[in-house]
């Protein structure tokens, strides 16, 4: 293909194969670690990066004779998530044992939920890049516990001694998880990514999780199948454990391409777990035996049912903060922000809070939004620093905007000062004073400089007088050069015209 990107409809995931159109069907299962102090069923702290097997006790190590007790706050957080997704909260909810053998699961069963989950039948309205909304159904929201962590050692990783083996650290074992299962409502990898982005923003907003995909506090499995439009659902495969938004999209694109070309070659799709390798971009099928999915669920006899009444639901509902969609609308209505800026600020709760503080202090919401979504966000994104850790506080940014507002700084100079603020953490006034960066708005001073330059350049001056407007920029450049860019541009323009007119 020459000349840029291929048209969208022929890109993987949009569904066109060599033999005609295919419809893609995607559903996502999200696991989110809750940011509680302690684990789901014992009092061990929830931590990240501690020495292995130091955040464990007989309960989360699965020792015989120990008893799990559910974490009140985990139930509350899970309820908050279910409510924010518009789910019906079950009046009666029960934990089940999901039985399977794996070394990261010390009890050989995971305490999860089965036919009586906490929340059922919700919906998330996902906003696409073009501003349109599409609804994704939420099948269920349930509570469970995380497994431990396996680290591969020996052989392939470069250790010289011994055969391949794995090391097990149970610090993560028992961390409260909430699983959010979507309906198969997504038709493209882009929609899946948009859903995931929106869900992540929502969870962050709710203050129930760190939602850090790299650290594994948010994990995503995708079920994907393809079919001819109008045909019954095709056989699905499950893409496991993708740990970034980009991989989710790329993994789905690769798997869809694989399924379509297999079907067009007359092959059949086998229900299986598949793995996407982000390095090679290829899909590997992990042939799982039928038995692996026979979990023999049964009610967990060590835990009693949870009965949830109306009063509890209302109490939790009251703790749900303003949701991103509502916030976006308010930013547009109250501050007059463009939809794009409002969307960015509403999707990220700390960033939105930061913006509101700057807007309040500076009194100029649109300018505040420009800076927060522009220079500040660019810096945060490139350094990976969270907005609450930013060297520039909302008060400091409002101080900079004040200098911009009263003409002390031009936009260009303000950007330079902002960089210094990021590096030093000092406030704008101090930097401007110390470095003599203030804009030259002194008429007498500027006139002196202009007069000298006009005198030194009789040729261009004559040209301007003969109507060559373009020459003006030559004089602006000369003055800016001499003033190190600090001349007030509006004033300079005015004075130059006056002088050149003779």
């Amino acid at each position: 293909m020459s000349g840029g990107m291929p048209p969208r409809s022929s890109m993987p995931g949009a569904g066109d194969g060599a033999s005609g159109e295919w419809e893609v069907v995607i559903g996502l299962e999200i696991h989110v670690q809750l940011s509680t102090n302690t684990k789901m069923f014992c009092s061990c702290p929830v931590t990240f990066g501690e020495e292995p097997n130091t955040m464990v006790c007989p309960v989360c190590l699965g020792h015989p004779g120990t008893l799990p007790v559910a974490n009140e706050r985990a139930v509350e957080y899970a309820t908050r998530i279910a409510l924010a997704l518009g789910c019906r909260i079950a009046e009666h909810t029960v934990f089940h044992r999901k039985n399977y053998f794996y070394p990261d699961l010390p009890k050989s069963y995971q305490i999860s939920q089965f036919d009586l989950p906490l929340g059922l039948g919700g919906r998330l309205d996902v906003e696409l890049d073009d501003g349109s909304l599409f609804p994704v159904g939420v099948t269920r929201v349930h509570m469970e516990e995380d497994a431990g962590k396996l680290v591969h050692a020996g052989g392939a990783t470069g250790r010289i001694h011994g055969a391949d083996y794995s090391l097990v650290d149970f610090n993560r074992g028992g961390t409260p998880l909430v699983e959010v299962v979507s309906e198969p409502d997504m038709r493209t990898p882009e929609q899946a990514r948009a859903y995931l982005t929106q869900l992540k923003g929502l969870l962050e907003h709710l203050g129930v999780s760190d939602v850090n995909m790299e650290e594994g506090s948010l994990r995503c499995d995708a079920n994907v199948s393809v079919r001819r439009p109008g045909a019954p659902l095709g056989v699905k495969t499950e893409l496991k454990n993708m740990n970034s938004f980009r991989y989710v999209q790329r993994g789905l694109e690769a798997e869809i391409e694989r399924q379509i070309s297999a079907l067009e070659d007359g092959e059949t799709i086998v229900q299986a777990t598949v793995h996407f390798d982000p390095v090679t971009g290829s899909i590997t099928t992990l042939r799982s035996k039928e038995e692996a999915h026979d979990y023999r669920y049964f009610p967990e006899p060590d835990l009693v049912p949870i009965e949830i009444d109306e009063a509890y639901v209302e109490r939790v509902r009251a703790s749900v903060p303003e949701l991103p969609a509502a916030r976006r609308q308010r930013f547009v209505a109250d501050y007059g922000l463009p939809a794009g800026d409002a969307g960015i600020l509403a999707a990220n709760r700390p960033l939105g809070d930061y913006f509101e503080r700057v807007a309040e202090l500076s009194g100029d919401a649109r300018l505040s939004a420009n800076w927060v979504t522009g220079d500040l966000s660019a810096h945060l994104n490139s350094t990976g620093v969270g907005v609450h850790e930013s060297a520039v506080t909302p008060e400091a940014l409002a101080g900079l905007l004040a200098l911009l507002g009263d003409g002390t700084l031009s936009s260009k100079l303000a950007k330079d000062v902002f960089q210094v603020m990021l590096e030093t953490g000092r406030d704008a006034r101090a930097i401007v004073d110390e470095r003599g960066l203030g804009q030259i708005s002194d008429v007498v001073e500027l006139e002196g400089i202009i007069a000298a330059i006009v005198e030194a350049n009789p040729g261009p001056t004559e040209e301007f007088r003969q109507g060559r407007e373009k020459v003006l920029s030559f004089f602006v450049g000369q003055v800016m050069k001499q003033t190190k860019g600090q001349a007030n541009p509006k004033l300079l323009n005015e004075l130059l015209r006056k002088h050149l007119a003779g």
Binding site: T36, N53, V69, V75, V304
Partner: protein
């Protein structure tokens, strides 16, 4: 009587290996247990809600407050093979 295949399936799920004669014995033994439990089906339970427990308990929850953990040495003390404070297991997958 449950089938021989079912017994083998359950054995695989349980990661247990049985000899030929044991499988046969288990097929009869497990069937006898299931038949015995089946006698409960003779009771008339119409209109009765199933209960999860013999005792009528609900909402047993704990406050989200950290407690005491084991030391690393104690945590891995029962591991047959231990390295760097972690349990050593055969490589998976």
């Amino acid at each position: 009587m449950i089938s021989r295949e079912e017994v083998e399936h359950i054995a695989r799920l349980s990661r247990l290996r049985f000899e030929e004669d044991e499988l046969e014995r288990l097929q009869h033994g497990l069937s006898a247990i299931l038949d015995y439990v089946k006698t409960l089906g003779e009771l008339d339970l119409d209109g009765l809600e199933p209960t999860a427990h013999a005792v009528d308990l609900k909402n047993v929850l704990r406050a989200d407050e950290p407690g005491v953990c084991l030391s690393q040495a104690a945590a891995v003390a029962n591991g047959p093979v231990v390295e760097a404070g972690q349990f050593v297991v055969p490589r998976i997958g």
